[in-house]
Symmetry: C2
DNA sequence: GTCTATATAGGGATAGAC
DNA sequence: GTCTATCCCTATATAGAC
């Protein structure tokens, strides 16, 4: 009936994102995705051949988002502190708008570690070597303490991403509602670079 | 045949831990747990009535581990830096011996956020108020900068836990094998307190 | 392209012999 | 307590009408 072209496909993808993010691959039900999209279950198989196919479309989009922005901030102009601030700022913005992505990606990768290798090598250019060299240079120039760059990078990434992964637990323990959580994450944009730069500056 | 008492039950629990941690609740198969335990599938239902029951036994043990040690370090004697070091040290040790636990607990809580409330209130005494007051005191005494205690706590916890959650991705990107990973995590015991204390000390 | 009806398999759970 | 055989529901996937 509807000739609206990619409309159905788009709605299926949106619905699939919601359900897969919420339930994971094995917990997700094709019926729930169909309901969420407001269409029939058979349509899912018409547009995407199988559950696995549909999942992979959702998964790769999520992978692209988590890995896409990591390097770009650090290749911008400015000193190390500026780059760090720029990264944390844009990454937390990304996570505020798509808070489910890190937990989703990490869970699925943990359960299929081989699956990631193909994708990461092909599509996403995640080359930590440039970042490591950047930090090593700062150390050589006496701007930063002599700390293993891996440990510095790890601390930055952890501080930005983990609160979103642990959100349900943290919200409960600290009694934080949705609005306050976003406010706190926005504050973290300033606080993470502040703590870490003071922690590693020479 | 075997009258070895709790032997079978113990083996089932060990097998269930492995499989649930690896696959999550919905991904786990009773058959795989039985194989892993080296017994028959029917025995699982004899000892634990259902998959859900078995899962909950595994889940609650994991919850106890992640939340058990959080508060004890911070209520030890010594100044804030000592307490922080003691916490990071014992927590990373815990995660080195049970590296799968954080990802497991977080995933299951994300998929059943209501489930946690009963457990956390009853069994695990996680009261962040004491920790917040401890930090506020240090701020008042001019030992620490005036930073929201939540943000400090968040940075500590994130830095310690996240590397274990993101391990499969990180190992791949940074080309880290099992042995090196443990070495790096052991180094983190010194580096996290160092970076954070320098970052927040007045 | 969209729907209803149905085939098929997989996996949790139980019955019942030993 | 332990095993084999089997029940039965659920969920993916397809057939086929419109």
């Amino acid at each position: 009936m509807k000739q609206k072209d990619h409309e159905a496909e788009y709605r299926i993808m949106e619905a699939a994102k919601i359900v897969f993010h919420k339930r994971g691959y094995f917990g997700a039900r094709m019926q729930e995705i169909a309901d969420e999209a407001g269409i029939n279950k058979a349509m899912l198989h018409y547009y995407f051949r199988s559950k696995k196919n549909l999942f992979e479309a959702v998964f790769q989009e999520a992978l692209g988002k988590v890995f896409g922005k990591i390097m770009s901030s650090f290749s911008k102009a400015g000193n190390f502190e500026d780059k760090l601030s720029s990264f944390v700022d844009s990454y937390i913005d990304l996570l505020i708008s798509d808070p489910y992505i890190p937990a989703f990606v990490i869970h699925e990768i943990n359960h299929n570690p081989e699956g990631i290798k193909n994708f990461l090598n092909e599509k996403t250019q995640v080359n930590p070597q440039l970042l490591i060299e950047l930090i090593n240079n700062e150390i050589k120039n006496n701007n930063l303490k002599d700390i293993d760059p891996f440990q510095i990078i790890m601390t930055i990434i952890s501080s930005a991403i983990f609160p979103f992964i642990g959100k349900p637990i943290l919200s409960h323990i600290f009694n934080i509602d949705e609005e306050l959580f976003i406010e706190l994450m926005n504050e973290r944009k300033k606080i993470i670079p502040e703590i870490i730069m003071n922690g590693i500056r020479k």
